[in-house]
Symmetry: C2
């Protein structure tokens, strides 16, 4: 049993390591125009929690510490997992920049600061998002010298996993359902619209929009660290429960939070009549569903014998207030 | 010496093969929401020339036919090159969809049809672009069964090459320079703006915005087909000249063409006071520069002993009227 203070220190350390790795991985002028480099950094270093890349590293540690990988390439595997952590944060940040655009959620405030399109204009904000998404794959694919042969395959599996989670079948598809659910699209344009208020549609939207990338963040970490198939599968099941818990809590915080706590516009989901866990299930039932999802995540870890920080991360996700 | 008719047949055959492969590679419902699948197809199958993916396949053929690769894995190498062709066309099409947005070039017409945002709204158009860009990396990375071991490395090299060409240092960076050159950005935001009318800035903008992806299309084909380093380097030099010729001709066509020929709004560059080859060098000198670039491309092929269709593609690029 580790203390809260110990876990806080872990989060701070990982956060700092990720920031250093991200900065080192980004393009700089004169390799790219100064303005795009600046716009990418503005959104990437805006004080996010780094939940997804921390999850990537924690999943990597878990498969390493639980003896699911050989000892020899542990350090190299953790270094490889860091490329996955950077890629996942690049993709998450690009999705926030595009989601905040006037044509989507039209948010002016994110993490307590003006959103990218407010600062740089819509055109550059769209392009900064495009650049972050594209750069994620440079980071994941760029060969390092003297890597063990199996690392090529790990990289390709991680790229496939992350790209599938981020694309039309995952996060981008979820945002399309989100637009449909808020009525931003003309009625009747999408069959998903008609079922928008029901639980199954709510789950699908959340699973695609948020769950898929959270799952891929964890699974990519397990793959890149060299986890065996059974360990990777367990991390995948864990992350599915975690992603659900995360989104339910996000919906609850949107109802309960203030802009000061969250650093973003709150109450927008209610204002937009977008179905959420609280609006479909009520607040008490939503809290119970989040607790159930976290309990299921813990159970997966116990059965698979996966240790490390994954259990604490699950508790963190439901206890957070922002 | 091959006839024009023979080359036309080659282009039609390759075009058809690429369309079949693209369609087979795309996500379909219920794996993704129907609306995003439809929006991706709307722009992908809008009658484009398929220059970039044809170039990918032609470069692959050239390194294979010129004996720069072993005979054993030729067919597998050409099949792998087709994944690169699809990826490059996905990225090219996403860039058109985003470039056409009101926040960028604000074009209502593309390839003779209403642009994606006119049909689906800005939100879905942005997301369809995001989905195509993301899916390009699924297509390049997704493992096939029973591939020779070296194919993993070819895939990773191609992903790195294509992603670097598409990102902040390449195509996206070029579009940022484009916004700066047209004055869409506030003056003084970008040092490149101040040099926007000079030849060096014009070359950098074109090289990033158009040249980089044309180069990557060819190089990825050579890599995926198993070309040796010297052949890949020759294809790279060829494609640099080709990309320059392409963009000069594009600028000339924008001045000379009609919307009917090009299927898009013409004269916009002039209207927007965006420096182009004709506006900086005049029409005659621009034509001479395009011819010089194509001659340089031919010379590279001759020196490297690369045959196949690459020479004809270079001629096609300068002789095209749309």
């Amino acid at each position: 049993m580790t203390s809260t203070r110990d876990f806080d220190r872990y989060l701070r350390t990982r956060h700092a390591e990720i920031d250093v790795a991200l900065e080192a991985a980004l393009p700089i002028p004169p390799d790219c125009p100064p303005l795009i480099a600046e716009a990418m950094r503005y959104s990437l270093f805006a004080g996010g929690k780094r939940l997804r890349p921390i999850l990537t590293l924690a999943a990597a540690e878990a498969v390493v510490e639980s003896g699911h990988t050989g000892a020899r390439s542990r350090d190299a595997g953790m270094a490889l997992a860091m490329t996955g952590a950077c890629a996942v944060e690049l993709i998450h940040t690009y999705s926030l920049v595009h989601d905040d655009l006037p044509a989507m959620d039209d948010d002016d405030l994110r993490r307590g600061r003006p959103t990218a399109h407010v600062v740089y204009g819509e055109g550059v904000a769209i392009l900064a998002g495009d650049a972050m998404l594209t750069h994620a794959f440079v980071v994941l694919a760029r060969p390092q010298s003297d890597e063990p042969p199996g690392f090529d395959q790990r990289r390709l599996r991680a790229i496939t996993c992350v790209a599938e989670a981020a694309g039309a079948g995952g996060m981008v598809g979820g945002q399309v359902l989100d637009l449909a659910a808020t009525g931003t699209l003309p009625a009747g344009d999408d069959p998903h619209r008609r079922a928008g208020c029901e639980d199954a549609a709510l789950r699908e939207r959340h699973e695609r929009k948020t769950g898929a990338l959270i799952g891929a963040a964890a699974v990519a970490g397990a793959i890149l660290a060299g986890g065996h198939d059974t360990a990777v599968a367990a991390v995948d099941r864990y992350a599915t429960h975690l992603g659900l818990a995360f989104q339910i809590v996000d919906d609850i915080l949107d109802v309960e939070g203030t802009a000061g706590d969250l650093g973003k516009t709150t109450g927008k989901d209610v204002g937009a009549c977008k179905p959420t866990y609280p609006s479909v299930h009520g607040l008490d039932r939503s809290r119970a569903l989040a607790a159930e999802a976290v309990a299921a995540a813990h159970e997966v870890l116990a059965i698979a014998g996966l240790g490390g920080r994954l259990a604490e991360i699950a508790d963190w996700v439901v206890s957070r207030t922002s």
